[in-house]
Each structure stands twice: as C-alpha cells, then as structure tokens.
Amino acid sequence: MKTIRSYKMLAAVLAAIMMISLLSACGNGGGNGNQGSKSDNAAQGDNAGNKDNTGAAGDSGNGQVKELSLFIDAPWYPVKEWKGPVADKITEKTGVKLKVTVATDDKQLPLMIASGDLPDLVFTYSNVGRLSDSKLSYPWNELIGKYAPDFKIDKTRIAIHTMDDGNFYTVRNSFATQEEMKQNKYSIGSDGNPGIAVREDIMKELGNPPINSLDDFVKVLGMVKKKYPDMVPLIMDKDWLEQYFLQQFGTEVLLDGWYEEDGKVDYSIRQPKMLEFFKFMNSLYRNGYILAENFALANDQIDDQYATNGKAFAHSHTVATADTDNIKIKSSGSGTFTFKMLPSALSKDAKVVSTGLGFAGTFITKKNKDPETSIKFLQYLASDEGKKLTMFGVEGEHWTWNNEGHPDLKYNPSDADFVNGNGIKWWYLYNDGVTEGMLSYVPGLQKTQALMETKAITVYKPQIGLIQTQPDSEEKTIKTKIDEMVKNEKVKIYLAESEEEAVANYNSMVKNAENMGLQKLVDWANATYEKKKDLFK
C-alpha cells in the first residue's frame, strides 16, 4: 500500500514538473513579443541614463570593454567570430567587442524582424530597405546629432540613404563616386567583378590560340571538348553564371536590374542586346561546353573543386579566380597546372555600368542596449585610421603606406585563408569603395591587371541605383515576382534544345513579365528616376 502511494506521489510530482516546465517555456516564448521588449526598452533607458552621467562610452579610456551583438545577414560570410589581430586592434581602439552571429540562410533575418528578436547591430545588404524603418532601427542622423556631432558623412552618401521620412538609417560600404575613383588611380575596385580563368597548360598544348574575342573563346572551348572529352570546358560559379558574358555583350545591366537609354529607364530583359546574350548562352549548352547541372549547383564550392581538381578547362567566377585557384592548387597539391585570367574586355562592345550604391550597411536596431557606443564605434570605423585598419590590417604588421597613394601590402590579398584568418577586410561595417579598391592593388597579380582593365571600361551611373522599391510596396511585390520568374525561366532559355526554342522561351519570358505588370513597374521606375537623378549632379 505504501509503495503504491509513493508511486502515485512520484507520478503526481513528475506531472506537475512537466506542467510547470511546459508553461514556463511558453511564458518565455510568448513574452518575447511584448514583455521582453518592454523590459529591454526599460533597460535601454537605464543604460542611456547611466551613459549620460558617466560620460563618453565609446572611448577606450575607461578601460571597460563593452560587448555588442552583431548579426551578419550573409550565410556565406567568411569570418564568423570576433577574433584575430584586426578585431583585437579595433577593440583596443574603441572598447567594443562584437558577439557575432552569421545567418544560417537568407530567411533568418526576416524571421528575426517578425519575432522582434533583433540584436544590437545588423549588417545586411538584402534587407537594407526593410530595416530603414524607424520602428526597427535608430536613424543615424538622430544618434549623430545626439552623441557624435563630429561624425561627418558626405552629402552624396547621406542623400542616397535618406528615406521618405527624412532619416537615414545606414550608409553602405563599398561605395565610391566617379569623382573619388578618378582621383585615386590605385583604387581599382573590389573582387566583386566577374572574370574567367583558363588553364595555362592546356592553352599551351593547344598551341596558345589567341583569345581576343568571344568567338575566339568559344573556338578554344570547342578545341578543348574535342581533345579532352572527359573535361568540362567551362565551369561556372553558381552566383557568377552570366556577369562576365553580359559585360562582353555590353548590356549595361545584370538580369534583375534597370538600364538607361536616352534618358528612359527599362527593365533588363527588355534590353535589345539581351536576346543575343541568351542565344549565346544557349549555344554554349547545346555545344556541350557547359553542364546542365551547372545551373543547379547547391553550393559555391563545387565549381572550385572542378577547377582545382583539373576537371575543368575554364572557370567563371570573379577577377580573383586565377589567383585563388592557383593558391588552392598549390596548397592542396592536387596538380601542377595553373590558371590565367582572360582579359576583362573580350570585345569592343564590352562595357561595365556601375549603378552601385554600395554593398551592405550596418543598422543600429531599436533593441540596441547602447546606441551611443554603437554610433561611436561606427564613427571610428569611418575614420581614415579605422577604414585602413579594417581594410588592410594592422599598420606596420600587415602593410605600410606608400606615398604614391596606396598601401604596400605584406601579404597576398587573394590568399583567402590569410585574409579571413586575420579578419582583414570583413569587418567593414563602415567603409568606402576607395579604400576597398586599394586592397586589390598589388603590382604583378593577375587580379590587379583584370581590375584595371575593368575600371577602364566602367561607366558610372549611380543614379540608376536609386531606383529602389520600398518594402511592402506594390512595386516591390511586382519586382520581386518578376525577378523570381526570370530566375526560373532563364534556365529554360539556356537549356533549350534548339535556337528556335530558346528564342521562343525568351519571348514567353518577356510576355510573362508584361502580364505580371512590367509596364506599370517601368512607369514607376521612370517616375522615380526623374525625381532622383539630379542627386548626383
């Protein structure tokens, strides 16, 4: 009898514990939405109050290191932890340490926004519009006025980022005006430019046929296919499929952008040169020079493996492809061959239009525990010292300044392992295109050559970049849907079994876009363009 009772007791206690833990778990979860944020806000208020009393927080002077949480909205981000000489130096200078979280996929940040579960700082490129919202982030102008009046940002950058409510919530890095680029001849641009590298040894065996045009390149691919049937003539990174070829066709636009002609703006796929480009890509497939699977690669490592394992003749990726591939081949010992870059301009039509407004920006969210320290932290990164420290590394240890106007680097910036291991470049939460462009200037590197060629054919039209749809607007919905449709339909054109089929698929893609409201979108784009284009004059 006694044992039965004690069993019952035990069962009752267990059940009670389960019940309590269940309820308390829910309490926590549910609380996040309302209560949590309230108490956070309260804490924030307290903190801010304290700051006012204790004085400047951003200074390293008081010796106390503050930790801020940072979410990086880029699953591919190569640095995932606040460590290494650059990070340490920044902490030393600012008294700020970052607790970094890198996104697991591109849906994580939208989910965090929805649940109100935001960190102190967010670094993003795809959600700049969404976070530029007074409900989610602090306006920089407000914080600068309050805590960092000597943080000066030039007018163009402010104008680019000013939203309809008159505030700006971030300033993107990697941006430089045409003037700034002109004045700094050693600033030659970033790795984010397309390039194709080819196997030097195979070229030699083929008798070094000249490659001075796209036709020449296609001919060489044909020779490779014939002589090395087991080899893939051209492998492409999944994110760098079209850019190089679009550049050669001089389309002035990538597949989801706007181009301008005679003062009128239109959507990329209606560019007259686009059809030629699609026919060209389709011919690469029909001739067996590219794999169908290339358009379904699940990650961006597979193409590198093809290239470095000697299974591919040409590798389409960025201007740094040859340098990085060669380093990888050497360090893994997988072969003795080397890659060399094709010229950035393979035809007289080749043209690059830079409509960029920069790459990514940092937001100080409304959940930030210490906005004052945060804006001062960014102010330091925006200083000349801060920009050089983040971009080139620690002065003296990693580089020395050359009075010609560029750093003399003591390492190879294409050596991804070294750069990422030391945290060079990637903490560019605030920086600019001029400083970043100098990181590429290493006399003798193939990338340097490729970038100088690219710079020579670049035309700047940042005013086109200002055509940006606002989150939750009707235009945004139409644009996203059309972009997504193009992403699906373009593959059907590339992989068509005949040229007629490719052309038919192209026409049906354009028609689809028109049915989805393309004209309305284009009208809106033109109206926006008219309103904003004078910003750069």
Binding site: A12, G33, I113, L136, A292, E293, A296, A298, P471, K492
Partner: protein, 324 residues
C-alpha cells in the same frame, strides 16, 4: 489502475461524477497535459490565420496581426492569378497522389513478404537495413544522392553507361522529367522499412491457429496471404490509409513533400518540383510577405481538412472501421 468504462447513466448525480473523476485523476492529469500542449502550440497560433485577410507587414510585429487593415480575399485572388498557379497546384497534387499510390502499398507488401520469410536471421537483417534510412535526415540524403545520381560524377550514371544501357548520362537530379520519380522513389526507400513495423505488428496479432487450420484445409501460401493475412491486417490498413489521406498534401504516409521539393528542387527541375508549400515558404519568408503566404497555406489546409473527412467517411462506409 483500472479504467471505468461503463457509460454514465442519466440519473448519475454530480457526486458520482466527481467520484469517478477522483478515481481517474491520474489519467485526467495526463490527458490534461496533452490538452494544454495542444491548446498552446496548436490552437493558440491559429489566430495568425487572420493575416491571410489583412495587409500585414512583419515590421509591425505580433500586434500588427490585429491592428493592420482588412483586405478581404485579395491574397487568395493574387495566388489564383499567379502565372505559376496551375503548375504549382498540379505538382502538389500529382506528387501527393503518386506517393499514396506507390508508397502506401510498399510497406504492406514488405511486411507480408517478411512474414513469409522463415529464416529469422535474414528477416531481422532485412528489417533493420530497411528501416535504418528513416533516421537519416533529408538534407543528408540529398547531399549523398549527388554522389550517386549526378549526371557528371554519379555512380549510377557511370555504371549504366559502362554497362551500355544508356549512352548519355541521365539528368536525374536536374531533369524536370525525373523529379516525381526521384521523389517517390527516395521516399519509399527512406520510409518503407519504418512503416513495415506497424504492419508486421498487425500480422503478429493474427491467431496462428488460423494458418494451421488453413494449411490442413489445403490452402497454399498465396491463398493464406489472401484469406488470412490481408483480412487480419485490414483494420490497421484502413487506419493508416485514413491518416495517409489526411496528410496527403504533405506526402501522406512517407511525408516529406516539402523537404524533397525544397532540397531536390532547383531552377532546372522547377517546372515539376515547385509545390504549394515551397512556394509559400519562399514568398513568405524570403520576401517577407506573410499575408500572402498565410493565404496560400490556408487554401491548402482547407483542402486537407476536406480530404480527411471524406476519406474517413468513405472508410467507414466501406470497411466499417474508421478514425472517428
């Protein structure tokens, strides 16, 4: 602890009811826990359905679900007029029905076949090997499938080519024509052994005397399967079938429509691999259009509810056994 099973008589006063309740308080406690769980995690979040009829923006947080403007059926209308609507609905239905047709009978067949195997060691071995894949997650399965099925490096293609069955490699992972077969095939491979356990248990419950009697009466092996094993499994089969049809749009018994379409799907096989769930996931989370995604999913839920009620009704009519 004994269960009180007799029905409450109309005269039962509240005292007796309380007494009964007290007697069963442990059971009620356990049931109560389950109910609390259901209410909190399944019923409470349902208020989110409101989003489907409102102009909701994620920056307005949970409160925004109640405060944003009503837009009626705008998002339902938008989905129905989407250029991919027909394709997406077709893919969802075809994939689901193919899975019921092929994946539902598979574990039943395997269970019957295993039951006929007399060598215990072999039976155990087959059972273990066939249910192990159940524990591998789809992400891993899809990753590994690349090594087996890829057109360029896949072992299967290499083998078929060297044996002379095909001259060009098959684009199993990327070709739109292969996706449904790939999805159904891999789902059967992964889940068949797992579900076999249930059916084997049902067979174990059949009285061996029936088999002995049938054998004496001269019934062969096939006749015994047809007249004893299958009727003996009928109850289980019907219950599993009803559950399957209820979750048919998620892939039924073997489930995983979403995982497969999301992981095996790519821009080449998109014409056959895009289904309602992946589409809702993409527009909902990637584009942050929660209202639209909620509307899409609501349509699917309604279809599912209709299917489960009708399949239950039919099962009741045809076999007398049903879920509720």
């Amino acid at each position: 602890m004994q269960l009180e099973t007799q029905p409450i008589s109309p005269q039962a006063d509240s005292g007796r009811l309380w007494k009964r309740f007290k007697k069963q308080k442990m059971l009620h406690l356990f049931v109560g826990l389950g109910m609390v769980f259901l209410v909190i995690f399944s019923y409470t979040p349902m208020f989110g359905i409101l989003m489907a009829f409102k102009d909701y923006s994620i920056s307005s947080g949970i409160k925004g679900i109640f405060t944003s403007d009503w837009v009626g059926l705008k998002y339902f209308d938008e989905f129905v007029h989407d250029y991919q609507f027909g394709k997406i609905v077709r893919n969802t239905l075809v994939l689901s029905f193919l899975k019921v047709i092929f994946a539902f009978p598979a574990p039943i067949l395997l269970a019957i076949m295993l039951n006929e195997v007399k060598n215990m060691a072999f039976k155990r071995f087959v059972q273990t090997v066939s249910y192990l894949p159940h524990f591998i997650s789809w992400v891993v399965v899809v990753g590994v499938s690349y090594a087996f099925l890829s057109a360029d490096v896949g072992v299967v293609n290499k083998a078929l080519m060297s044996l002379g069955f095909i001259r060009e490699p098959l684009n199993i992972l990327t070709g739109p024509n292969y996706f449904w077969g790939l999805a159904v095939g891999s789902a059967i491979w992964k889940e068949m052994g797992w579900w076999t356990i249930i059916f084997l248990a049902a067979i174990t419950g059949i009285n061996p005397a029936l088999y002995e009697a049938a054998e004496i009466d001269g019934a062969g092996r096939l006749a015994r399967i047809r007249h004893i094993t299958l009727p003996g499994m009928k109850g289980t089969i019907v219950v599993v079938l009803v559950l399957t049809i209820g979750s048919i749009l998620g892939g039924g018994l073997v489930g995983s429509n979403f995982e497969q379409a999301y992981l095996f799907g790519n821009s080449i096989n998109n014409p056959t691999s895009e289904i309602v769930q992946t589409y809702a996931f993409k527009v909902g989370l990637r584009d942050g259009r929660f209202s639209y995604a909620a509307a899409i999913d609501l349509i699917q839920s309604v279809i599912s509810v209709v299917l489960i009620f009708s399949s239950n009704f039919i099962a009741k009519r045809m076999s007398g056994s049903s879920l509720f």
